[in-house]
Each structure stands twice: as structure tokens, then as C-alpha cells.
Amino acid sequence: MHFVVELTKYLMLLIFGAYTYHAFRVSVKKNKNTRAISLRWMTCFLFLFHFTGYFTMYLQVQNNKLVWLYGGELLVFILVLSLYKIIYPGISELLLRNMLMLLSLGYIILTRLSFDKAVRQFLISAVALGLGLLVPIFIQKYYDIRKYGWIYGIIGIFFLVLVLLIGTESYGATSWLTVFGLFTIQPTEFVKLLFVLCIASLFSEGTDFKRVCAVTAMAGATVLALVFQKDLGGALIFFVTYIFMLYGATGKPLYLFFGLAGGSLASWIAYSLFDHVKVRVMAWRNPFGYIDKEGYQISQSLFAIGTGGWFGMGLYQGLPTTIPVVDSDFIFSAISEEFGGLLALCLILLYINCFLILINISLKTSDDFYRLLSLGFTVMFGFQIFLSIGGVIKFIPSTGVTLPFISSGGSSMVATIIMFMVIQGIHSTANTKMSVKAAASLGGEIYDEKQKK
């Protein structure tokens, strides 16, 4: 048995590495045929990786429930791959596969950490993927969603204030809302979507100085609401997203510069005012000095990553559960411990690949609203990954942020899937438009070529 666990450890690294390689190949190569072949390989690797993971786990725990979970996940993967392609021919297949690959890695590591949480995660993501099917239609149909910027902003702030008033506290942040006493949601995750919608809408209408000031005030209010919830990671994500959207809308580097300078100043003020910020920084600078309390989590995380080394301990061979909150904020450490540092590096590369695809869609969109919308989501996605991984490897102070598609957490999962699907919708709209236009203007200018000039 040990034999198989060790063998599959190396095998999974190879598969994941090969998958990542092909992901970049598809992004770089122009030749349609080459890309199609690579995409086919990626589909194979996706299923192979998923199977090998569950096979390894089944051998060790021999729980038949695992087979059911695996079957369910497999079914969802197949459905997503076929349905999305049928309904949206213009979708980015590369992005779709990357999303499934990330989900598959997340399913495996969550099953290893906590079976119940994995089941919950699977059900929520399955529903979200189903809902996601509708998102691109929605984007194509409702042109008018761009018109209600202020309303989105106000609804967002309303929810955040509501959480402040009646929310429940967990892990030091008050960011949970209990709905009808049945389940809890984290409204921040959905406010993220509204926030980007709001900013994209307002800036697509104009970027004169007066407007910039007004929008900044509203964005500031949103960030402040998060600061009061003690949700540092959330506040940072909103702030950075806003600054980059402002920069993207105006094209003025000065905004970016002053925004980041103002952000640093605000962080410094937060550091000197709030004890919980100080504790995080303290734990970051010297985790082992405060290993019994403040630095415990980050120390355990570093032990996990360090002991796992380049090749990892193998599934069920490490002790990832010694890290507090390992299934959500610190899941990267669990991956690094059991799958190894090399696979963890490939995972970062895969995220970079997603980031590049997303921002490329933004780059190719001529419509201002869509361009800003996808840019906002892209930056949000990228920065969240940076905060999450950077925090658990002690590159930056830990801010308690989830890893998209992988960390356990329903709200985050639903919001991220919607985010991806919105961008897919924008992409497929542009793609469809492009072909219509190309057909309509035979001999005339073709959209795509115009961009190259």
C-alpha cells in the first residue's frame, strides 16, 4: 500500500505538471490544431489526476462513501465540459478546464482533510456550476445591467452594515450572516461582485475628476465597513481592486501611485490603531517567537510546507490537520505538505495562467463596461490568490483569505464561479459578435485585425 501511495505521489506531480505545461502551450500557440491537441491532453490529465487522487485515498481509508463522492464529481465534470460547450461555443475552453482542474485539486485535498466538508463543497459547487450556466446568457441578454452603478454600490454597503449589526463572529472577524437560522453565508463574497459591477458601471459612464471623487468616496465607505468587521483581507482586496479599476478606467498612473501610497498610509494607521493588526504583523515577523499563541498557525504552516519538501509526504502521510483552519485559509500549506512544493509551484503557475487568460479577455473587449468589469474581477481574483498564498508561506502577513476554487467555503465558491462565468459570458459575447461582424463586413475591417494595429 505504501508502495502505491508513494508511486501515485510522483504520478500526480507529473500529471499536474504536464497539465500546467499544456495550459501555457494553449495560451501561447497560435495554431488552432496544436491548441486543440493540447486541450484534449488537458482533459485527459484532468480526469487522470482526479482519479489518481481518489484511488490513493480509497486505498488508505477504504470508505465506500468516497466512491460515491468521486462518481458525483466525475459526473459534474463531464456535464460541465459537454453542456458548456454545447450552449456556449464561444467560451474559453482553456479557462473552463483550468477551473475544473483547480476544483478537482480542491475536492481531493478537502476529502483528505474532512469528508463532510468535501461533500458540502461538492454540492455547493455543483449547484453553482449549474447556476453559472445561466450567467453568460444573462450577460448577453441584459445589456442594461450597466446602468445601475449607484444602486449596486448602495446595496453592497447595506449588506456590509447589516452584517456589522446582526452578523456572527468567527476567527476574529464579524463577517457571517445566519439566514433563517438554517445556514450561514458570508455576504462579503457577494458584495465583491456587486462592488466590481458598481465601479465598472460608474467608470464606464465617465471618468472626470468629480465623478472619480464621488466613486472613491463610496469605495472608501465599503472598505471602511470591512475594516469595522475586522476583515482585513477583505478590505485589502476591495481596496486594491478599486485602485486598479480606477487606473484601468483612467489610464493615469498617478491614480495608481497615489492610491497605493494612500493605501500604505492607511495600513500604517490601521497598524498603530488596532491590536488585531499588530498581532498579525508580529506573528509574521517572528512566528516562532510567539509559537504558543499568535504565531502558532503560521509556524504550523511552515512546518507543514518545510517537512513536505519538494515532493511532499503523500496523501494521508502528513499532519496537515495540526494547522488551524487548514481547510480554508491555510489549504495551500496542506497541498504543499502532502503533494509537495513542486506541485504547489505548478499550482501558482496555473493560477498565473488563469490570470493571464482573464486579463487577455479584458484586453480584447472593446466595450468599456465589460472591459472594466472583467478587469475588476481579474484583479480581485489575482490579488486574493496573492494574499492567500503569500500569507501562509510567510511572504506577507497572513490576512485570512481563501484560495479561489480550492478552499472550503460555500459563499466564496459560488461567488468565484459566478465571477468566472461573467467573464466567460463577456468573452463568448465578444467571440460571437466577432464572427457576426466578420460575416457582415466582408472585405471591410475585421474586429480582431483592427486591434493589432
Binding site: G248, F288, I305, T307, G341, F355, I359, F386, F395
Partner: protein, 487 residues
């Protein structure tokens, strides 16, 4: 007309001036650079952590994963520099792993133990010993078929021959012997007595930790024992005097065998009057009256900062469990009397034998203190060197000119002073004896020194507890260790 207008509208909606498009493109590209840059930095840090920092991090005793590793790897060996096995894991007939220490209590403190709390090299290199050199195909194969891989071996700097001689020379007395290589800081031998046998620590644990007779066998006297330095401290006092008085060569003092200051009497050994002495003679004869009088004029601040530049009042720069030596003179708190006592190494000053060896080595090495270290390299089970520790400078405590003069003073201790027993050796020894007086008990006998005086290869520090004078009891031990080294 109508058509035209519609066209215009269309244009406004679907296309914008190309300048704008270009700048949008630039803006987005710059965002790409910023984010990809951040990610690359993060990946770089991650790789750096795994390559460089993780070894130290995961060695923490808080890391529960050590036990997980122990299930996959047979703990590696600890070897002496001359190829003797100091610790190894043996698998008995029932497939049990037993940690064995072939030399019993001889290396107990420095090599350490794994039962009842890890100590010594077993602690600081725990992860190394539990890691198998993993790049070889064989290791991967073993991993896969489930055979335990042999852990990496730690090769220490210790010389077994020297250690054995020092161990025997101490006999049944309590005390410690430390020998280091002055140029590198390599620890060649480090012995403490009384000691304990790590092989049966489990059976004797209660007795050892109870310590009814105050023997403290678990304590490494060499690095954790703190003793008054006695006359060995005159090296520091002499240096303080040299720094404060550029004309120190003209120093002259008439010793009557004892001196008095406000009711306090300081005697030379056996109240022997040394007559007219210069600085070198006073040092060679270990003249207490001369040195305590020197102490009267040393500024306390200078004295304190000098001793702190020699690592008093702070942990020693070594990966070896040690207690900081203390130098307690302080402006405003300490009077002239205490300064006079401190100058001859009595007062409240305390020092560990390892620290005193470092001071001897500093003089031998032209004033440069090297970090003492006991681990030379890490080898795979197959003998491939995986990591070598290199000598590191800890501080430059004095100029080479000052070191040269101190050297000549220490040489005169052997040629015409208290260590003349060592005069007739084939090589030139330099050093300083010390007799740390104890209220109501016999004195601690000290000797620190090095050889050969012109090109020192070995520095040594010997203490014998509650035994008598340094020249009588510490010198012979040092002599035996020197002989073992040079012959």
C-alpha cells in the same frame, strides 16, 4: 442624411479613437507586469524557503512531524572526525530500533540523547538525521517499496583520541576540558564530568533528574557550568591596562606579597613577595597585588565594554547549549574594592570553560574570535557530502598587535611563571593558570592556553572543581591533551 447619422452613432458605440485603444492596452499590460511580478517574487520566496530556510524551521521541537519522518527513515549516525561512531541506530532481533552510544557517558553532553527530551547534536540536527538523501534513485525506490531509507550522517569536528585522553585525564574529578582549533573554531574535544550514560537514560531518569547529591550530571559543565575565572581573567585585565596605557612597557610595581585597600587585603599566592615586576612578569607570576592595583585605575565602563566584546553577559555564538558568562561591574553600583577583586578574577564574574577556551583561542588567532562549532559536515549514508559547515568569524576582539603581546605574556607564564611544568615539551606552549578561590572549599583549578605558541593549532581550557591550584591540578591534564594532539 438619416443613414449618415446612424453610421456615426454606430461608430461611437463600437469603436473609439485608436490612441485611446493603445493607451488602454498599455494600462492593462502594466497591470499584467505588476501582478506577474508579484507572483514571481512570491514563487521565488517559496523556493527560497524550501531550499534554504526550511531546514532550520522544521527542526523545531514544536514540529510534530519528526515522528512521522522517523517512521520512514532509520535515524542516521553521528561520527567523530576520525571516523568513530558516536551514536547509531541498531535494529535488534525483534525489529526494534535502539539508539546506541558506543562510548557511554563520554560524549553524553555534546552528542546528546533522543530519549527523555532531545539534546545536543541529536537535537540540533534532528531533521538531518531523519532525512534521507532523496535525490538518488535508490532512495526513491526504497520509498516506493516501503523499505526504510538510511538517514543522513552527521560528522562532528570531535577528535576521539583527544576526547578519550581528556576524559581519562580528568579521572574521577569533576570538571571539564574543552579543546578548539583557534583558526576555525572547530571543537576538537569537549568533556564534562560527572556525566551520564545515554544508553540507559530511561532506567536512570528518575535518579538523574532528582539529583540528590547535587552532581548535576545532566548539565554540560563545559558550556553550561559557570565558574569564577580566577587568574585566567588577568588576560582581560592586562588588555584593559594595555589599551588605557600606551606606555604599558614601562609598567613597574613593587610586590610585597599583599596589599590593602580600605580594610580589604589582597594576597599573592602563599603571600609570596614578587619584588619589582614589569607587566609581563606580573602576569607570568600571576601577581595578585599588581593586578588588583591595576584594577583600581581601570574605568568600570571600559572594563565592562571590553569584557562584553568578548561575549560576557550574552549567549555564546554557538549552536551548543550554553549559559551566558557574567561580568557584573557597573558604574554607580560597583565600588573600587569590587573592581580590584574583579581584576584578578575573583569578584562576581563567572565564565564557562568553553567561553574561556574561546578567549585563549582569540589570543592564539591574532585577536579574531571564531564561532565554536561541533558539526563539520552532513553526509549521505553512502558517504556523499551534502552540506559542509564553514568557519565563521564571531568578532574581532583585539588588534593583532595586542594579541601578539598577550601571546608573549602567556608564553612567559610557561617559560618563567606559574606554568613552568609545561616548559620542557617539544613544542612551545603558552597559557595562563588560575586558582579560583572558594569560600570554605578547595579552589577550582584552571588552565587555559594554546600551542605551538608561534603558530597555534589547538587552544584548550581545563577546569577541575574544588581541587586546588591550577598549576598543580589543571596543568597536567592540559599537558596530556597537548601531547595526544601533537604525538
Amino acid at each position: 442624411m438619416m443613414k449618415n447619422k446612424k453610421n456615426e452613432n454606430n461608430d461611437i458605440l463600437s469603436q473609439k479613437p485608436s490612441v485611446n485603444k493603445d493607451s488602454e492596452r498599455k494600462t492593462i499590460l502594466s497591470i499584467v507586469y505588476i501582478f506577474v511580478g508579484l507572483f514571481v517574487l512570491m514563487m521565488g520566496y517559496f523556493a527560497y524557503f524550501l531550499l534554504v530556510k526550511s531546514d532550520d524551521v522544521i527542526n523545531s521541537t514544536y514540529n510534530l512531524r519528526h515522528d512521522v519522518l522517523a517512521k520512514r527513515v532509520v535515524r542516521g549516525k553521528i561520527m567523530s572526525a576520525d571516523g568513530k561512531v558516536l551514536a547509531e541506530t541498531i535494529i535488534d532481533n525483534d525489529e526494534n530500533e535502539i539508539r546506541s552510544y558506543p562510548y557511554g557517558d563520554m560524549y553524553a553532553h555534546l552528542v546528546g540523547r533522543v530519549m527523555r527530551g532531545r539534546t545536543g547534536i541529536e537535537e540540533v540536527e534532528n531533521i538531518t538525521l531523519l532525512t534521507s538523501y532523496s535525490n538518488s534513485a535508490e532512495a526513491m525506490y526504497n520509498d516506493i517499496v516501503g523499505v526504510k531509507n538510511p538517514g543522513n550522517n552527521v560528522v562532528s569536528t570531535l577528535n576521539h583520541k583527544l576526547t578519550q585522553v581528556a576524559y581519562d585525564a580528568l579521572g574521577n574529578d569533576w570538571g571539564a576540558v574543552v579543546a578548539i582549533e583557534p583558526k576555525t573554531g572547530k571543537i576538537l574535544a569537549m568533556v564534562s564530568k560527572p556525566s551520564y550514560d545515554p544508553n540507559d537514560i530511561d532506567d536512570n531518569w528518575e535518579k538523574l533528574s532528582e539529583d540528590k547529591d547535587n552532581e548535576s550530571p545532566l548539565l554540560s559543565r563545559a558550556s553550561q557550568g559557570l565558574y569564577p575565572p580566577g587568574s585566567t581573567f588577568k588576560i582581560i585585565t592586562a588588555l584593559a591596562y594595555i589599551r588605557a596605557n600606551p606606555n604599558y612597557m614601562d609598567y613597574s610595581y613593587k610586590c610585597n606579597g599583599s596589599t590593602e585597600y580600605e580594610g580589604m587585603t589582597i594576597n599573592c599566592s602563599n603571600k609570596k613577595a614578587h619584588g619589582n615586576v614589569d607587566l609581563k612578569e606580573a602576569f607570568a607570576k600571576s601577581c595578585n597585588t599588581a593586578f588588583s592595583t591595576i584594577g583600581k585605575d581601570i574605568l568600570i565602563n571600559d572594563f565592562r565594554s571590553l569584557s562584553e566584546s568578548f561575549f560576557f553577559n550574552q549567549p555564546l555564538p554557538a549552536r551548543i547549549a550554553n549559559y551566558p558568562s557574567s561580568f557584573l561591574l557597573k558604574v554607580g553600583e560597583s565600588g573600587v574594592k569590587e573592581t580590584m577583586q574583579t581584576a584578578i578574577g575573583q569578584g562576581r564574574t563567572l565564565i564557562s570553560p568553553l567561553h574561556n577556551a574561546m578567549i585563549a583561542a582569540a589570543v592564539a588567532n591574532g585577536g579574531v574570535i571564531m564561532k565554536p562549532y561541533a558539526i563539520d559536515r552532513i553526509e549521505s549514508a553512502g558517504g556523499r557530502v551534502l552540506k559542509g559547515y564553514i568557519p565563521e568569524e564571531a568578532a574581532v576582539a583585539m588588534t593583532s598587535k595586542e594579541a601578539d603581546y598577550l601571546k608573549s605574556m602567556m608564553r612567559s607564564v610557561v617559560t618563567d611563571g606559574t606554568a613552568s611544568r609545561l616548559k620542557n615539551f617539544d613544542y612551545k606552549i603558552a597559557g595562563k593558570t588560575g586558582t579560583a578561590e572558594q569560600e570554605g572549599k578547595d579552589s577550582h583549578a584552571w588552565f587555559i592556553g594554546f600551542a605551538p605558541a608561534n603558530d597555534p593549532k589547538i587552544a584548550i581550557s581545563v577546569i577541575v572543581e574544588n581541587k586546588g591550584s591550577g598549576s598543580e591540578y589543571a596543568l597536567p591534564i592540559a599537558g596530556k591533551v597537548f601531547d595526544a594532539y601533537f604525538n
